[in-house]
């Protein structure tokens, strides 16, 4: 389209395109298997779903649980009915199924996603590096309430972020939200102080070390269990803090990495404007 196209025509065309797109999405959603139609057994290990189900043994014997064409599990693994917080787990030890999909079943995919996040963060740093704007406006001190309050709140927020990613295999949460919470605490420090800069070298070292730790845990799995990112630690009792094998270790690494990366993104966005932010 040329530049001098009237605006009304343009918006009518856009509405037309949007209408076609929305009708297509409706059709796709309606024709998709939804809810009860999806067999979760194909996506998660069957042992996972059967945790703490009282009728599990009966169903396993009758063979009703599985979809057509699946072998009953009894033949492969000796199966006992599992009770929550009572018995050790057969599969993994994690109470949170989403966590164990992110770290265990799709661990390699998560490594790739962390790499994408690292590339995005370093791209932001490269684009905004080295620009120093001189302060045009006179500085005013941020108020004392903000200064003290953000310092106290930062401690609480930091502790909460660490809690989230340490308990990732038990409660909702994990490395990604924990890192985001820590980064938002650092953003609060930026807002509360005048000219606050974090320790850049410390951030970089932290980020690199946690990335290296992720790969090293994967390599330990490769050399001890013969598969990259395989679980090499004993799986404890479901529901305990020390359970789920290496999931909590990897989530700690991911939380540190995501937190330091997002903090670096915020720093390189704010850092060179040299204005007050209170």
């Amino acid at each position: 389209m040329k530049n001098d196209t009237p605006k009304v025509f343009k918006s009518i065309f856009a509405l037309f395109v949007v209408a076609i797109f929305m009708i297509g999405l409706f059709y796709a959603f309606v024709s998709m298997p939804k809810g009860w139609g999806v067999n979760v057994n194909n996506r998660v290990s069957r042992l996972y779903i059967l945790k703490n189900v009282r009728t599990a043994t009966r169903l396993l014997d009758s063979g009703k649980f599985f979809a057509k064409g699946m072998k009953p599990l009894r033949a492969e693994v000796p199966y006992k009915p599992i009770k929550f917080k009572k018995t050790a787990n057969l599969e993994d030890g994690a109470a949170n199924v989403v966590t164990s999909i992110v770290v265990d079943y799709r661990g390699f995919d998560t490594l790739g996603e962390v790499t994408v996040l690292f590339l995005a963060a370093s791209g932001v740093m490269m684009l905004l590096f080295g620009k120093r704007v001189k302060p045009k406006r006179k500085k005013t001190e941020p108020s004392l309430i903000m200064y003290v309050g953000t310092r106290i709140a930062f401690a609480v927020i930091f502790l909460f972020g660490i809690y989230i990613f340490v308990h990732g295999h038990l409660t909702p949460g994990g490395g990604f939200p924990g890192g985001a919470v820590i980064a938002s605490g650092i953003l609060g420090l930026f807002l509360g102080r005048n000219g606050y800069t974090p320790n850049h070298a410390g951030l970089k070292v932290f980020e690199s070390l946690s990335g290296i730790a992720f790969v090293i845990i994967g390599l330990i799995g490769l050399f001890s269990v013969k598969s990259f990112l395989a679980n090499f630690l004993p799986t404890g009792i479901i529901g305990n803090l020390y359970s789920a094998g290496f999931i909590s270790l990897i989530y700690i690494a991911i939380g540190m990495k995501v937190g330091s990366e997002l903090a670096a993104v915020v720093d390189s966005m704010i850092g060179d404007t040299k204005e007050e932010w209170s």
Binding site: K136, R137, K138, T140, S143, I145, M146, G149, T150, I152, A153, V156, L191, S278
Partner: protein, 119 residues
């Protein structure tokens, strides 16, 4: 016996909290300008939410530590955030209600003017 006392205490606390939350909502509707509304929306709802959460913690078994932690965090952050909003809006040039007697900020000659504009 203890359960009955705790139940009554929790109910009274929740009633106080609901009353103050209602006052906060009423203040947001009735008061004239931004600063007064911010005052009503912060002061009343801080007490309201804190006493409501502690009352719920007394009523339900085992929730007291969580609700006390929630109350402490709210007590800490809510006034700070409302102070930040008020300060930023004053610096951005929001004029107070004309009935506000005397404008102490302007009186003390604090250097807030013209911060939001290019020179």
């Amino acid at each position: 016996m203890l359960n009955v006392v705790l139940g009554w205490l929790g109910t009274v606390l929740i009633s106080i909290g609901v009353f103050f939350l209602f006052l906060g909502a009423l203040g947001i509707f009735r008061l004239p300008d931004l600063f007064n509304r911010l005052q009503a929306g912060t002061k009343a709802t801080t007490l309201g939410v804190v006493s409501t959460s502690i009352g719920v913690g007394l009523l339900v078994k085992g929730w007291l530590p969580f609700s006390v932690a929630l109350a402490v965090f709210l007590l800490m952050t809510n006034p700070i955030s409302s102070h930040a909003v008020a300060r930023a809006s004053y610096r951005a040039g929001v004029k107070p209600y004309h009935g506000t007697s005397p404008d102490e900020c302007a009186k003390r000659n604090l250097d807030f003017s013209g911060e939001g504009e290019e020179k």
